[in-house]
Assembly symmetry: C3
Homo-oligomer: 202 residues x 3
């Protein structure tokens, strides 16, 4: 679990940065608002998953490292934000790694808690995306999952891939990495080639 834990903390850190950056274009963007938004973005998805599954204590309540990873993300954003803003592509990659990781971790945790695969997929997608959705609802933006890019859909596909590989008897680490790659590659290709999910009403 060593590597996975480091990745998880790194993912939380990256999500905190993207959360703090989200107040950039807001009229009101003081330290408290930025910190709050960073906090919500990072832990919102996992928190919602655990509340829905009734899994207590919540991860960030029992492991204080997560709170400090978020604080680090906020401080880094504040001190280096001009630099961070120039790193758009790096940030995009961080975010993409983050949602990939969180999707599979969320799916696994739900499975581990004994729910059906369909529910595990929902929990995986929620873990990765609901932090961003809460952030957007708070800052009066249109929630990220309604915007054009293939975002939640990549997570959905990744979670399904993980379950499929699982069912086909793939070793856990292999399934983890392969399913994460599905999400990462899908998202990168989607942004690169302007893919979008088909419209619901034609």
């Amino acid at each position: 679990m060593g590597i996975q834990y480091i990745l998880e903390i790194t993912g939380t850190f990256a999500f905190a940065i993207s959360g703090a950056l989200a107040v950039k274009d807001q009229k009101h963007q003081d330290w408290f608002g930025a910190s709050f938004t960073a906090f919500i973005s990072s832990i919102g998805g996992g928190t919602l998953r655990d509340i829905l599954l009734g899994s207590y204590p919540l991860v960030w309540i029992s492991d204080i490292t997560i709170i400090y990873a978020i604080i680090a993300g906020i401080l880094v954003t504040s001190v280096f934000y001009k630099f961070v803003l120039r790193l758009r592509k790096t940030m995009f990659l961080f975010d993409t790694f983050g949602i990939a990781l969180f999707t599979i971790i969320g799916t696994e945790k739900a499975l581990y808690l004994g729910v059906r695969p369909e529910i595990a997929v929902i929990m995986g997608v929620f873990t990765a995306t609901m932090g961003g959705v809460l952030r957007d609802v708070m800052t009066n933006e249109i929630p990220i999952i309604y915007r054009k890019e293939v975002y939640a859909t990549a997570c959905f596909t990744g979670a399904c891939s993980y379950l499929l590989l699982n069912k086909l008897g793939a070793e856990r680490n292999t399934a983890f990495i392969a399913a994460s790659l599905v999400i990462i590659i899908l998202r990168i290709l989607a942004v690169r080639y302007h893919w979008s999910v088909p419209k619901f009403f034609r």
Copy 2:
């Protein structure tokens, strides 16, 4: 419980349709957004009720049929949406049956879990209306309960009627049907004759 269960699944199906239709006028309305909105609309109210009451596992997590009823609602909306849109009146009736049913089910569940009648009324109204409220918050609409029609108020009156009938010793099925009819009739009359709840500030 046979008939009630079928009604519940039908109500979930109807709420999923109205949820998917809610993205119609949004700029961003891909498959994922529509599905997510349908999902939130259908299970949001009951989920909030169960989280507030600490009643686990959540209904849709333990009974996968609910998820499939939602998926069916999404598919039907997508394939037949021109038809569905023409069925405004039918949809209104479906929705009205849905909120009536969900109000009484929510009230009953809360009572069964041992809370006071005042709390049971709140839970009944929440079960019926908070899915729509969450949908509206997500899609940046003014939440349904703030809009003019007698909507939540009908649920409130129905939940109170149920409790009253209960207290007066009415048989459970009688109370269930009578209280549902109170909601249905109140809502239909309200829309028909443009009733509205008195303004709070005169």
Copy 3:
């Protein structure tokens, strides 16, 4: 606990008034909307805290007095709203006492449930501010914590003061009152002298 309980009920009552007043400038402001908003404003923060901590039953579900304090707040606002609106300064003081009280109560409850001090601070701030945030999200306002005044920051400072006094061995009531005063004085000075939290992006 006698005095504290009375203060808590008074705080709930005051928050209900400010919640009901929040629909004043909304286009849609019927009785149900005002009552719902009052309800959310008063119990939203404590409810979120208890859900995050997995502490059941929720306070307002086990103690019906809270519901009646909210109803009283709604009725008073409706009957005397012209009077209430003229009492801006009094309302501001009520609200300030309210957030001070709720911050410390929230911090104490979290500590009592065995979480780390960092988490207790978060819970204290959430108890005081998230009701207002939920109210603002519901009524499509920019959430209060993003607005300029030193609001959540005062709660944060107060919660930290409480923990510090606690650690320094101060008697519980002394710590409670001193930390509350920190919040009250900080907020009054902030409004009086137009203090604001430093901008996150300079």
